[in-house]
């Protein structure tokens, strides 16, 4: 056997634990054996994969063709609603943007998840989501989120933002919530340098984050541009010139991937 596990365990132990994998997958072990197997699985990916295979097989044995029990769904909904915390800051689903002085403007949307928090002890999102999100970001834009900034006249980022905002060939967008309570401003200059001023957005719980999205003019796809954090300031990003609209959503930190149904209702129309 070539498992590295052999380096730390005797071959008899490995054999015995391997033999237990089927029983473990079916919950047919006592607490003592369960602990031993779980220690083993942590250091042996091959054994972990075998357990998962056994569970897939078991899931097929479990087929009964039964219907979902009546009444349970409504009880689930009742409990979810009862446990739902207060909703987070109200943000609009649709944002309207005044036209830029000379070259048109970008419309953008902000879609809000149904709730902004679920429990106070949420675990981090699985890494598979983050990996996919990163891949999408790389395709669309080089992102340089600079984090919250204090506004000073001489700050080069502030100066660059002011310059871009006043340039006739820049695109600008003002994201306004439905109730007009919250606003964020976006500017993309002719070279694709973008700025998002989210300083007026309300601070989120620490396990939530604002996420910036772009709508591709060619396909209408919504793609992640970057993470703005729970308390955005003036953030910078770059786009490759194909983004026709911007959107901001509230997501569970550290952000999510666009998955074909990215952020709810996103319609970015040029106006």
């Amino acid at each position: 056997m070539s498992d590295s596990t052999d380096d730390t365990m005797g071959s008899d132990d490995v054999y015995e634990l391997d033999e237990l994998l089927g029983a473990y997958a079916l919950d047919a072990v006592d607490d003592f054996d369960r602990d031993r197997v779980e220690d083993y699985l942590r250091i042996n990916p091959r054994a972990a994969a075998e357990v998962q295979e056994h569970r897939e097989v078991a899931s097929m044995l479990a087929f009964t063709g039964m219907s979902a029990p009546e009444g349970v769904w409504s009880r689930i909904m009742d409990q979810i609603d009862a446990e739902a915390p207060d909703p987070g800051p109200e943000l609009a689903k649709i944002f309207a943007f005044p036209p830029a002085p000379s070259s048109g403007s970008v419309t953008a949307t902000i879609a809000v998840p149904q709730r902004t928090d679920r429990t106070q002890q949420r675990a981090p999102r699985s890494s598979w989501l983050l990996g996919a999100a990163a891949a999408i970001v790389l395709v669309v834009a080089g992102v340089a989120v600079v984090g919250a900034r204090s506004s000073t006249v001489d700050d080069p980022i502030d100066v660059a933002y002011a310059t871009a905002a006043s340039a006739p060939d820049s695109l600008s967008a003002e994201l306004v919530s439905e109730s007009s309570s919250f606003r964020a401003a976006g500017v993309v200059d002719a070279g694709g340098q973008g700025f998002m001023d989210g300083a007026d957005l309300p601070r989120l719980d620490a396990d939530m984050t604002y996420q910036l999205w772009g709508v591709l003019s060619s396909t209408g796809d919504v793609v992640s541009i970057g993470i703005l954090g729970d308390e955005p300031g003036l953030e910078t990003f770059t786009v490759d010139g194909d983004v026709s609209a911007l959107a901001i959503t509230i997501e569970r930190a550290p952000g999510v991937v666009s998955d074909g149904n990215p952020v709810g209702a996103y319609v970015g129309d040029l106006v």
Partner: protein, 207 residues
């Protein structure tokens, strides 16, 4: 269009939206607080979860409690599901099975259960397309089970559907513990081979 009609159309659109989603996408949406995504996951898998729990417990009320627990846990902790490690269906069923076994072992009297129900055909209200597929699957499962030795099949069934530990299975059958755990493992491996060769995907994402 009346507001009721508009609402109905919107709900229909939502159902359509998620009915085409993969299980992984559903979980992503659940993590983003989409109750309609949870509803779709429930529609797809609650019957199987309920069926397994009922088979183990022979008690509709307790089986329903397990269904409720399993889907609330998916709602509250969606990150526990890792699509790289298996299907959502097996994830939910493993949760349900573990919980049912806990109940069985916490209440010895529950071990005196009725004879386990045989694989059943689809019930009323079950999705037609899925029913066809599931019935095909049931046929494959029965064929695969037939490939096991009687001793292997008994060991697997007592462990999985009986909620017994392999030690308890060994005691009940008067066999050595090592023999039983080997039979369970070899039985599961044979089932995987048979189900794979019959075209039933193992470890792929189910809709």
């Amino acid at each position: 269009m009346s507001s009721d009609q508009a609402d109905s159309t919107e709900e229909s659109d939502v159902r359509q939206e998620f009915s085409d989603s993969s299980d992984s996408s559903l979980v992503v949406s659940i993590a983003r607080f989409r109750q309609d995504a949870l509803a779709e996951a429930y529609r797809r898998h609650a019957g199987a979860v309920f069926g397994l729990a009922k088979r183990l417990l022979s008690d509709d009320a307790r089986a329903e409690e397990i269904v409720q627990e399993v889907f609330l846990r998916l709602w509250n902790e969606p990150n526990r599901f890792d699509p790289d490690r298996g299907t959502l269906r097996s994830f939910l069923l493993a949760n349900a099975h573990g919980r049912a076994v806990d109940l069985i072992r916490a209440d010895v009297s529950r071990r005196r259960r009725e004879e386990r129900e045989a694989l059943q055909t689809a019930g009323a209200g079950y999705d037609v397309a899925r029913e066809v597929w599931d019935l095909t699957l049931a046929s494959h499962v029965r064929t695969a089970l037939d490939q096991l030795s009687g001793a292997e099949r008994t060991a697997v069934e007592l462990a999985y559907f009986g909620g017994l530990s392999y030690r308890e299975v060994a005691k009940r059958l008067g066999e050595a513990e090592g023999t039983i755990k080997s039979r369970i493992r070899s039985g599961l491996k044979k089932l995987k081979v048979e189900l794979s060769s019959s075209g039933v995907m193992i470890g792929s994402e189910g809709q």
